[in-house]
């Protein structure tokens, strides 16, 4: 069996089933976005995959191992990053944390030196390698966390909301790094997030869960094509104008401020933001416009509605 992750699990709480019969198989080299609203069971799933939680029922195999029974062996083969908690040593410089993890995972000094050098360069960590972790900014720390999870060259990297709280630049840097890592074929990615661009940038496959069940599981493009995502264009006009009806692909128009600001809801099935902007500009003089990023919750809600 070369399936990297294969799982079928059912977990029964006293009253709540945090994860209720989720089945999925992730093959080596994939990049899977595991998304859903808060309380959908994402973290619970991850805890079961990493051997922290015992499934109430069902079967889990990660890298061919039973996560709970062979937790230590599994720990050598997977890396885990929790966006909201640290696995670094608070009082020690980043460099020392890495060195400790090297010993804990039994990585040879040669391998360690090579990997460390690579990640330090890719993630531009050299300037703060000797700073105690508690003094690092969140963005710097996250880069450290990701490196810490990769030092033992895991085949699977699980990331639980890795970009939470990061600024745009830090997010983009991290995404770029993870995308390159996955593209190199060395590491399978499983990622939970509330950030849609994370998924768009990193994942070819999307698994949407809600209330502990898989809602949708499929390639990102196909999902987009099949369901199309409704998005919104907000335009502010130079002078008040009547509602901009009749533009191609626009499903509804809301007018604010006597026609100075208009919200155009369009479907990505029928048009693109760029095409729509072009046709708006042809009709009226636009002072400002914005295309808000749809939140993951909105996408999920839209999927629900169908």
């Amino acid at each position: 069996m070369d399936g990297l992750v294969r799982s079928f699990r059912r977990r029964r709480g006293v009253e709540v089933r945090a994860v209720d019969g989720i089945s999925l198989r992730v093959d080596a080299g994939e990049a899977v976005g595991y998304i859903g609203p808060n309380g959908a069971g994402k973290s619970t799933t991850i805890k079961m995959l990493t051997g922290i939680l015992v499934p109430t029922a069902g079967r889990v195999r990660v890298c061919g191992l039973d996560p709970v029974r062979r937790r230590r062996e599994l720990a050598r083969r997977i890396g885990v990053v929790f966006g909201q908690r640290s696995q670094l040593w608070w009082d020690l410089p980043l460099r020392d944390s890495f060195e400790l993890l090297r010993v804990i995972h039994g990585v040879s000094t040669v391998d360690f030196a090579v990997r460390c050098e690579e990640y330090v360069e890719l993630l531009d960590m050299a300037p703060f390698l000797d700073t105690p972790v508690r003094q690092l900014s969140l963005g710097q720390r996250m880069r450290g966390e990701v490196t810490a999870a990769l030092l033992h060259a895991p085949r699977l990297l699980v990331l639980d909301e890795p970009t939470i709280g990061l600024d745009l630049v830090s997010k983009e840097r991290l995404r770029g790094f993870l995308a390159a890592l996955n593209a190199s074929g060395r590491v399978t990615l499983l990622l939970t997030t509330h950030d849609l661009p994370d998924v768009e940038r990193l994942c070819r496959r999307l698994v949407v869960v809600d209330s502990g069940r898989v809602l949708i599981d499929g390639p990102l493009d196909q999902l987009r094509r099949r369901f199309g995502v409704r998005r919104e264009l907000v335009v502010e006009l130079e002078s008040p104008a009547p509602a901009l009806h009749g533009l191609p692909g626009v499903e509804s128009v809301t007018v604010q401020a006597d026609g100075l600001r208009q919200h155009l809801v369009f479907s990505t099935e029928h048009t693109t933001a760029a095409a729509l902007i072009a046709s708006v500009v042809r009709r009226v003089a636009v002072r400002d416009l914005a295309v808000p990023e749809p939140a993951i919750e909105d996408v999920v809600r839209q999927l629900y509605a169908r």
Partner: protein, 301 residues
């Protein structure tokens, strides 16, 4: 449907167990390498903890001194007591000081190694325990190694000085057995107290604020073990001396060292049984800890 699912579940489980066994036929050399690797890892964790505690040497020295003084206040209590009476529980002052010394060294060392388990509820709440479970080492070992509190050495050193003094003034017929017991007793005592501590703190997995309850047993033991068994009421003796094996930390080894018949008339073999009791308590504590951890991983609180 339900039966089918059950059948499906059972078969892979069985197959898995066999694979598991086959994998475990590792050579002796591999196993030794992995043991050595783990020992190094724990040593480095302790080293890291030591480095951050010794980062400010003066502050560390003061803390050590504080611990030593703290231990000495118990000593003062004993001296004051003997200003009024000649013997307690059938023991004169120097004999009590031997008990106090062994108990103090043991408690100081145990407190150094496992004392920070008191902060386990915090670990659980902050999810730091999860981070430990993601590493290829045991959770308890990592907790103890990275939370070792070196300043407790101050406590042990006071007790050690008192023990050395008391033994030197006492008229002891030194045999090989007694000489080894002098070394073994504080170590066995440490092991017993560590086990008590681990078992008591496991309560935190069920009750997040189980700290008070655990402290009753852990810090209670520190007081209980430092005095002759005879001064306590019989139910307390049974509870803290034998159910929680506090009597084996210092009381029985002291009797053996001094060659003194037990004032309570308990059998002589008990006096030499601290090391096996220590081994047994490790087993019990291990089982309690494991089931506690399993409970945690079952509920995911």
């Amino acid at each position: 449907m339900a039966e089918g699912a059950l059948g499906d579940r059972r078969r892979p489980g069985w197959r898995h167990r066999r694979t598991n066994w086959r994998d475990r036929r590792t050579t002796w050399r591999q196993r030794r390498a992995s043991w050595a690797g783990r020992a190094t890892a724990y040593r480095r964790l302790v080293g890291a903890a030591a480095r951050s505690q010794l980062a400010y040497p003066l502050s560390f020295a003061l803390q050590c001194g504080g611990q030593a003084v703290g231990q000495a206040t118990d000593l003062v209590a004993i001296l004051v007591l003997f200003g009024h009476v000649r013997a307690i529980g059938g023991f004169d002052m120097r004999e009590v000081l031997v008990i106090y010394g062994i108990a103090g060294v043991s408690f100081g060392l145990a407190d150094m190694i496992v004392g920070q388990l008191d902060s386990l509820p915090g670990y659980i709440r902050m999810g730091r325990l999860d981070a430990l479970l993601l590493r290829p080492l045991g959770a308890l070992g990592q907790l103890c190694a990275s939370e070792i509190t070196l300043r407790r050495l101050g406590r042990s050193s006071t007790a050690l000085v008192v023990l050395a003094y008391a033994l030197s003034t006492e008229d002891i017929r030194w045999t090989l057995a007694r000489a080894s017991l002098v070394v073994l007793a504080p170590l066995a005592g440490t092991v017993i107290l560590c086990s008590i501590w681990v078992a008591a703190c496991s309560v935190s997995f069920w009750v997040i604020e189980g700290r008070e309850l655990a402290s009753t047993v852990t810090y209670g033991s520190s007081m209980f073990t430092a005095y002759p068994l005879g001064i306590f009421s019989s139910w307390l003796r049974r509870l803290m001396g034998f159910a929680v094996p506090g009597a084996f930390v210092a009381y029985f080894p002291t009797l053996a060292l001094l060659g003194k018949p037990d004032p309570l008339g308990l059998p002589r073999w008990l006096q030499w049984s601290s090391p096996p009791v220590a081994a047994l308590s490790v087993l019990v504590a291990g089982v309690v800890w494991r089931s506690a951890l399993r409970h945690y991983r079952g509920t995911g609180s």
